[in-house]
Amino acid sequence: MTLQADSILEPRKFVAPELVCGMGVADLAGRYAVNYGARKVLLVSDPGVVQKGWTRLVEESLSRSGIPFVLFDGVTPNPKDHEVMAGAECYAREHCDVIVVVGGGSPMDCAKGIGIVGTNGRDILTFEGIDEVPVPGPPLVCIPTTAGTGADVSQFAIIADTARKVKVAIVSKYLIPDVSLVDPKTTFTMAPELTAATGMDALTHAIEAFVSTASSPITDLHALEAIRLIRRSLPSAVESPQCGQSRSDMMLGSLFAGLAFSNASLGMVHAMAHSLGGLLDLPHGECNAILLEQSVHVNFDASPEKYRSIAIAFGVPEARDLDDATLKARLIGALVDFRERVGIRLRLRDLGLRREDLPTLIRHAMKDPCLLTNPKPASSGEISDCYEKAF
């Protein structure tokens, strides 16, 4: 199932939303709502974003365009099934017909869920799987306020099944937003910790998409460019939150990483992170950051040339000339250094993981669709090993 670099071009697809990037483009929310024929907008956000004032910014834009709206901000990190259903209830009750979401990955995944529940009238958990959504949701306008989740361009929505304590992956081209207003301005208010976590999430997206067995030349371009941008800008964005250059680069890096993983999918890091998020509600970005270096240990040998390209993009010295084993060690070292430099030094146990949770985590991770495109079929032993090392 591995993809050879010199193989002939295999069938691949690339799907992306309409993209508008640049400072201040969040103000276009009202115009897009009008263009989509909105009569009433469901505005999805979360309390943190509301508090930062970005929700207000979008509200004003909608009001300027004369579009009525209703705000739904009952969303928490790792969005829960009942939050989606509550939002869908609000959507139906208020007779909304367009959804605008402003916030990070959680509100955006929640908004995607609300959309398909709104048009299909079914419980959100029944859409679990790939291409299991019969009818697309209403027009969806995304205004990301973090640089990293990629949810504003992806076909994924990860919803927590609170009964089973697992994260459910809903994968469908219908989940891809209609337009994404990528405005770096909205990321200026991010705290350094959040900047770091979302940035490391974006880096993980880029690396996993690049080594994914479903990668394509188009996704590779985005993935490698994302790696370069993130490596260059994340530390300064963490250290200097008001640095416009860094924030803009990170926004682009996150966007490219998103385009890459949305079309090429991910790998074992996300499978394991979803399991952690579902069981223990751990922050997604940090889990990814901690597990990323472990995945290189497992996957390097399945695709050494891909990892060499990553190393080059990541600025590992002499990466073109090193032998595989040295390169692997150098790359892992560089990733560890980078993680620690942006301030993520915790182990999984520091986040609240207990050793007895491991068997459950492994079982859930082994069922995650992200494993389908891992460079090599990961065994439960290897998964277990990764968790152990990150513990």
């Binding site: 799907v15 790939i130 299991e132 891809i176 209609d178 090429a264 999918s265």
Partner: protein, 475 residues
């Protein structure tokens, strides 16, 4: 991973889907959904058009049915209404009219509105009470009634004979019956008339044979009497010197004379005695006889004569008129018996209509016109219907010692004079017998004199005489 479809998917196909190469891995688009909805709308529209077409057809059918039903109903209604039979729909419970044929309107002489909703009883139609209950019993037993003979009362109180058929039905959720009555009154009347004729023929034949028998005997008897009388008279001449013999012979001759009178009477009632017509002044004749009658009258009875001064002379047999008078007065006295009473004889002239003359006890009715009357009324016991019907039969008598020939002879005399006799009587209310003798046209006084009408009311005539048909008496 949980699959909505139970069939587990291979990793290969899941991976294809993830890469966007699955069958359903299309970009978000509302177009297919829109087309499906448009198709659905079109399908619904076609369905509606079809339903509309079907509905229209149903409506047209219904309309046609309705019109046909209306026509058929109108036709049936017309047949029902225009039937010459008396047809009606009645409520079962109380024989209340719900629907009627037009024949009822003319039968009852009322408007339809006055009949519908009222019962047979309300309208006084039943000939006898309990008739409906009787019909209901029949219905209960037979399910329906066919050709039952009934009597109804017309509003004019005339009896109506009908053949009744009754069939149960339900109308507007009310238990009803269809009643059909065929008018058989005419048939019934004809039958009655036939019976009456038969009865009269029989009576006539009886009289005839009796008359022939009596007449035959009377003739022979008369001849024998003449022989006895002649020989007795001859014997008288030859024995004039023997007083004892002479007296006996004289009594024997008297007895033969009385026997001859009796024979004459028999001959009169059998219509065989010759009538000698001569001018008679009736008032004089009555007055003369009143004296004789008064002499033999018992003291408990008052005899009264109320003559009308304008009674003309008529041609009649005076002896026979006398016989009538004596018979009637004696009968009146006998009806009074031992009680205190009065017998009144009155005379006069009157104009009689056919209707009045129909009451005459003679089969041969005279033509309408002017009549002289001799009326004898008493305050006696009167007669019942059965006695009245037989008083003219020969040898019929209510008296212990009567011969039963008086009234029979009266009838014979009046027949010979082409007159009429009218009797009004009822038990305990007395009897009035009026003998009418026709006046020739020439004896009629000027027509103008009829305009002054004087009703002569003799004493002792009760008010029933007012109920008599028009009868005018001239002064």
């Amino acid at each position: 991973m949980k699959k909505p479809s139970d069939r587990p998917l291979s990793e290969e196909s899941l991976r294809d889907r993830l890469m966007g190469l699955g069958e359903k891995s299309t970009r978000k688009s509302y177009y297919p959904q829109l087309l499906r909805q448009l198709d659905e709308l079109e399908r619904q529209r076609e369905e509606l058009v079809e339903k509309n077409r079907v509905m229209t057809e149903i409506l047209l059918d219904l309309d046609r049915e309705r019109r046909r039903a209306t026509e058929s109903e109108a036709k049936l209604s017309k047949i029902f209404r225009s039937s010459s039979q008396l047809i009606a729909v009645l409520t079962l419970a109380d024989a209340r009219f719900m629907e009627i044929s037009d024949s009822w309107i003319s039968f009852l002489g009322r408007f339809r509105d006055e009949i519908i909703g009222r019962s047979m009883k309300d309208l006084g139609l039943w000939g006898s009470p309990g008739e409906w209950e009787h019909i209901l019993e029949g219905l209960q037993a037979e399910g329906e009634i066919q050709g039952m003979e009934i009597q109804l009362r017309r509003p004019s109180a005339e009896t109506f004979y009908g053949l009744l058929s009754v069939t149960p039905m339900e109308l507007d959720r009310v238990q009803c019956v269809v009643m059909e009555i065929t008018d058989i009154t005419a048939r019934k009347r004809a039958e009655e008339e036939r019976l009456e004729l038969e009865r009269r023929l029989l009576h006539h034949q009886k009289l005839e044979s009796l008359g022939m028998l009596a007449g035959g005997i009377a003739h022979d008897f008369n001849n024998l009497l003449m022989a006895i009388q002649g020989n007795l008279e001859l014997a008288m001449y030859g024995s004039s010197h023997i007083p004892s013999v002479e007296g006996r012979l004289h009594r024997a001759i008297g007895a033969t004379q009385r026997a001859a009178e009796l024979v004459k009477q028999i001959l009169t009632c059998s219509g065989e005695s010759p009538t000698r017509f001569a001018p008679v002044q009736v008032n004089d004749l009555v007055a003369e006889n009143m004296k004789l009658l008064e002499a033999g009258m018992l003291s408990n009875i008052t005899l009264q004569f109320l003559p009308d001064g304008d009674v003309p002379v008529i041609r009649a047999d005076a002896g026979q008129l006398q016989q009538i008078l004596i018979n009637l007065v004696l009968n009146g006295c006998e009806a009074i018996g031992d009680a205190v009473g009065r017998v009144t004889v009155s005379t006069g002239r009157m104009e009689c209509s056919d209707g009045y003359l129909k009451q005459s006890r003679l089969d041969e009715k005279p033509e309408a016109g002017h009549f002289l009357f001799i009326e004898v009324s008493d305050t006696g016991s009167g007669m019942g219907e059965s006695t009245l019907n037989r008083i003219f039969d020969p040898f019929f008598t209510t008296k212990f010692i009567g011969r039963g020939l008086g009234m029979s002879a009266v009838l014979g005399i009046i027949r010979n004079h082409r007159g009429a006799i009218i009797i009004e009587s009822a038990r305990d209310c007395g009897t009035t017998v009026r003998v009418l003798l026709p006046l020739p046209r020439s004896s009629h006084p000027g027509e103008a004199s009829y305009s002054s009408i004087h009703r002569h009311r003799p004493h002792g005539t009760d008010d029933r005489s007012l109920d008599r048909p028009r009868c005018e008496r001239n002064r």
